[in-house]
């Protein structure tokens, strides 16, 4: 089915960014427009999701050029879900930004760039062309550079140098892989690549290309030896920016990896073993990294790495059930990680510090807020009725079915490390007696804000907490969705037929 409506969320974010640029200096209008626009974008994404849920994969051939010659945009169940989550997190963080981003930052184009970043994310999720994916990655990174550096404080600039270098390096490696792949197959369309690679004789070179892709996406998604840029940069920008980075940016890398390793490449034992080893080491390094850190936002950064390991583990087990677990985990992780960075930002706004040593007594002074913050924290660990618990069932079950006992051991170890880290944070930040942090001059504390701004900071945390409660208590809905996505990913013929029409006969 060919449909224009799959473009609406993408084009709407773009239009919104342009409209916002007309109010460059008027940050009050920008704040309101951004929130209202994000709400409309969420509705459009919801409509797209409902359509795809009902009628299956939709495609759009840009410029009327039939695939595989033009750029194809494809929305299958996975893309639709991720676009919906992007717009959901986009709305929550837009509300949070409207209260927490100071005018000095908003005056330099925070809101337009924020919506351009969302546009890039949506584009990366819906494209069906590997070079187009590269272009969307570039849109994402250039917007994220600006968001990371806006404000120009010393830690921000320092972290931007590292973030910038490694992300450009990842892009160059990705581009190299595309070049080699194009040389081998003569096509860029992902569905066409899938058909051509299945028929290709040159397996050795194709496996090498797969590894170049793995390195490129590995840097983006912060897997084991390539993650060092993440914990040195994610805690430096304002919390709203950290939240969108932590919730979605690394997930784009994971999405690309899932897409490439289910649709395009045929996996052999070597790639599976490599993915599994990397997953284990990622879980370990993220978990232990989080244990020793003191800054809350840095702890969350390391936990991102730890949980990326869970998703890669699901991908590495190479079964539909494991993929179900990985997808469910990703859905849960996007909502919860985004929320946790907002929680960290909230704590900073209230107390003026993010150091676990200095903080304390939060539960005593803000009991209601503490209960609210408890929801994402406990969802992250996966205390049974909450959202982090359910994907692990699928992951462990898949591991038992295919006898990956070592991997199961490490997934459980990762969960225990997360539990330990969150428990440590809970006692330090919420229960321990406060040591009294010196008040900063020229810092707008939460207590000094107007009621409307206070509400706008609590509301997004509440929205995202409600969504993670929904994922937890109505897990059968999300499980059904994840199973359907995993089925679509394992049986690629549906995707290929949606893009290319009927599968053409292959002449090797």
């Amino acid at each position: 089915m060919i449909a224009h409506f799959l473009l609406y969320p993408l084009l709407f974010q773009f239009a919104l960014a342009i409209v916002l640029m007309f109010f460059w200096r008027d940050t009050r209008i920008q704040r309101r427009l951004s929130v209202a626009g994000s709400g409309i974008a969420l509705l459009l994404a919801g409509f797209l999701f409902a359509q795809v849920w009902q009628f299956g994969t939709v495609t759009f051939q840009a410029g009327g050029w039939q695939a595989p010659f033009g750029i194809t945009l494809v929305v299958d169940m996975l893309s639709a879900t991720l676009v919906l989550l992007t717009c959901l997190l986009g709305l929550a963080i837009s509300i949070f930004s409207s209260a927490s981003i100071i005018s000095e930052r908003a005056k330099f184009g925070y809101f337009p760039i924020y919506h351009l970043l969302l546009m890039g994310l949506i584009g990366a999720f819906i494209t069906g062309d590997i070079f187009n994916l590269y272009v969307w990655f570039e849109v994402i990174i250039i917007s994220s550079f600006v968001l990371l550096t806006i404000g120009g404080e010393k830690p921000q600039i320092e972290s931007a140098v590292k973030y910038f270098t490694l992300n450009i390096l990842a892009s160059v490696i990705f581009l190299t892989a595309i070049a080699v792949l194009y040389g081998l197959t003569g096509t860029l369309n992902m569905a066409d690549l899938s058909v051509k690679i299945a028929a290709s004789e040159n397996k050795g070179l194709i496996n090498i290309t797969a590894l170049i892709f793995f390195v490129g996406f590995g840097i983006k998604s912060a897997v084991f030896p390539l993650y060092f840029w993440l914990p040195s940069s994610y805690h430096t920008p304002p919390a709203a920016v950290s939240a969108i980075f932590g919730g979605l940016l690394t997930k784009v890398g994971v999405y690309a990896m899932i897409r490439v390793f289910t649709l395009i490449f045929i996996r052999d034992e070597f790639i599976d073993n490599l993915l599994m080893t990397v997953a284990v080491l990622t879980i370990l390094s993220g978990g232990f990294g989080a244990l020793v850190q003191n800054n809350i936002q840095k702890v969350f950064s390391y936990l991102i790495i730890c949980h990326i390991g869970f998703m890669i583990a699901g991908l590495s087990m190479h079964s539909e059930l494991a993929l179900t677990g990985a997808i469910f985990y990703m859905i849960h992780d996007i909502v919860v990680k985004g929320n946790l960075f907002l929680v960290g930002g909230m704590i900073y706004k209230i107390k003026g510090s993010n150091s676990m040593k200095e903080l304390g007594g939060f539960y005593g002074s803000y009991p209601k807020l503490s209960i609210l913050m408890l929801i994402p924290l406990f969802s992250l660990i996966g205390i049974p009725p909450l959202s982090g618990f359910w994907p692990k069932i699928s992951l462990l079950q898949a591991g038992f079915e295919d006898n990956y006992y070592v991997l199961i051991g490490f997934i459980l170890l990762g969960s225990f490390l997360t539990l330990f880290v969150v428990a440590k944070m809970w006692t330090n930040v919420f229960w321990k007696a406060s040591t009294g942090i010196p008040r900063k001059p020229n810092f707008k504390y939460f207590g000094d804000l107007k009621f409307k701004d206070k509400l706008n900071m609590v509301l997004p945390i509440a929205i995202l907490a409600l969504v993670s409660l929904y994922i937890g208590f109505f897990a059968e809905h999300v499980q059904l969705l994840s199973e359907r996505i995993a089925f679509e990913l394992s049986n690629t013929s549906g995707y290929i037929e949606a893009v290319l029409g009927k599968i053409p006969p292959v002449n090797p």
Partner: protein, 117 residues
């Protein structure tokens, strides 16, 4: 011609990686630029080099019968060049700013965000 381009690609990648591993900020950017150019030439190379055969259909025919140069790699390179222009412009402003704020161009001095705090 292919061999020359292959050697140049290799040299650009090698030089790029070497420059990225240096400690100076400016050399870092130069390294990234060299790597990007290496990738562009690689795309050009793998698209098969055909001399003097533009992919234009003659007026009296409806298809190209002869071999012709593949236009796709050139479109890709053009896109990649434009993107890397933007990124490099940003990079140069960033390193100028970083030099002003941190007051050094030694990458080993820029580790305060990695420290335990």
């Amino acid at each position: 011609m292919e061999i020359l381009l292959a050697v140049i690609t290799g040299l650009l990648y090698g030089a790029g990686v070497y420059m990225i591993l240096r400690r100076s900020l400016v050399k870092l950017i130069i390294g990234l630029i060299l790597l990007g150019n290496g990738a562009n030439i690689l795309i050009f190379l793998v698209g098969r080099i055909v001399k003097g055969k533009p992919p234009i259909i003659p007026e009296d025919s409806s298809t190209i019968l002869d071999t012709y140069a593949d236009p796709v790699p050139q479109a890709l390179i053009l896109t990649a060049i434009v993107i890397s222009f933007g990124l490099q412009a940003f990079a140069i402003v960033l390193i100028k700013r970083a030099y002003k704020v941190v007051k050094t161009d030694d990458l080993d001095q820029m580790n305060t965000t990695d420290e335990y705090a």
